[in-house]
């Protein structure tokens, strides 16, 4: 049976080791780069002996830094100078400013076009709704005239 005292001491130990792990994991990179004092280094090595999780975290970080070290081995293009020379000979320096001016104006032109299209859309929508209103009004008048028994022109002639 698990007693309260045992649980208490277990939690205490766990809490203690968790703190150590946090402290360890906050300094792994400095251990890797050998930027710690002898005492700190010894303390961290001791911790690693009893903690598989921290050992794995150290391995992961070392691996990451070794990827960076491998990138140092990549060499530049051997034809770099020829490529530069070709570009220098073919490039016309006065082309650049035009491109930059256009690039700078691009967002403004885009916003202007957007405003113009929104305005055109709105005014087209308005005139369309007015047309519908006029149409429905004339329809109403036409209906009245059609519903008359006699034409107003006939009445006028009869009266005369």
């Amino acid at each position: 049976m698990v007693t309260a005292g045992f649980l208490n001491s277990y939690c205490q130990r766990n809490k203690q080791s968790k703190m150590d792990c946090n402290k360890f994991q906050a300094r792994i990179i400095f251990l890797h780069d050998e930027e710690l004092t002898e005492n700190e280094k010894k303390e961290m090595m001791e911790h690693m002996k009893g903690c598989a999780d921290c050992t794995m975290a150290f391995a992961a970080l070392s691996e990451a830094l070794s990827i960076l070290a491998q990138e140092k081995e990549i060499l530049p293009n051997p034809y770099l100078f020829s490529k530069i020379k070709t570009r220098l000979n073919s490039a016309s320096p006065d082309k650049r400013p035009t491109k930059t001016v256009f690039a700078r104006l691009q967002p403004t032109i885009f916003i202007l076009l957007l405003i113009i299209s929104v305005y055109t859309g709105t005014s087209l929508g308005h005139s369309f709704s007015k047309q519908i209103e006029i149409q429905s009004y004339t329809d109403e008048i036409a209906l009245y005239i059609n519903e008359m028994q006699t034409e107003p022109l006939e009445n006028f002639l009869l009266e005369q």
């Binding site: 994991q25 906050a26 792994i28 990179i29 400095f30 780069d33 794995m56 975290a57 992961a60 970080l61 691996e63 990451a64 830094l65 990827i67 960076l68 990138e71 140092k72 990549i74 060499l75 530049p76 293009n77 770099l80 100078f81 490529k83 530069i84 020379k85 570009r87 220098l88 490039a91 320096p93």
Partner: protein
């Protein structure tokens, strides 16, 4: 070709006078470092090659404006850092537009397409690059110049325009942030 040991001032004067051999000498002298700076920031060999060309073209065009109170190497490396960071900013904007397009058309994002067919090592390299890219620009530049280009702290300070103490602090913070990211990947089984 006969290589000569020349001072920066002499080299600059020769290049301004149109000496092609002097310019070739300069390219050969600094190409490796410039390429590594570009590669460290953009993580792609072809882009780093193109950027290296851009750097030397810029050097050639503006060498007459170079002030002799700074070191030639520092000036060239600063151009390399700026060009690479500008390239990244431009790519970020383009990828934002791309991912917005993907979202509208319900397509897979660039990252989903990339991570699907990667080996474990390639995925780790990708995660490392993601972690490096997530660092603030100053921290990233200081860390990479220190780690990949083996430059001294005073040199890095001159390149990114800060003090030696500032560089020390930037590298320290970059290391802590990078470590945090990688341990998080490891804990989430993404490493």
């Amino acid at each position: 070709m006969k290589l000569r040991i020349v001072t920066d001032q002499h080299l600059i004067r020769e290049i301004i006078n149109g000496d092609e051999i002097a310019f070739r000498h300069l390219v050969e002298e600094y190409s490796k470092q410039v390429f590594h700076i570009c590669y460290a920031i953009v993580h792609n060999q072809d882009d780093a090659d193109d950027l290296s060309q851009d750097v030397f073209i810029e050097v050639f065009r503006s060498i007459s404006r170079f002030r002799s109170d700074a070191r030639l190497s520092t000036w060239i490396y600063r151009i390399a850092v700026n060009k690479s960071l500008n390239f990244l900013r431009k790519r970020k904007r383009q990828s934002w537009i791309q991912s917005f397009g993907d979202l509208i058309s319900f397509q897979q994002t660039e990252e989903e397409r990339t991570t699907e067919n990667l080996s474990k090592n390639e995925l780790r390299a990708l995660r490392l690059h993601e972690a490096i890219d997530s660092l603030p620009e100053n921290q990233r530049s200081a860390f990479l110049l220190h780690k990949l280009n083996d430059l001294s702290q005073p040199e890095i300070a001159e390149i990114i325009g800060t003090t030696v103490k500032g560089v020390e602090s930037l590298i320290h913070r970059a290391k802590i942030n990078l470590q945090k990211k990688i341990i998080t990947y490891y804990k989430n089984d993404e490493w």
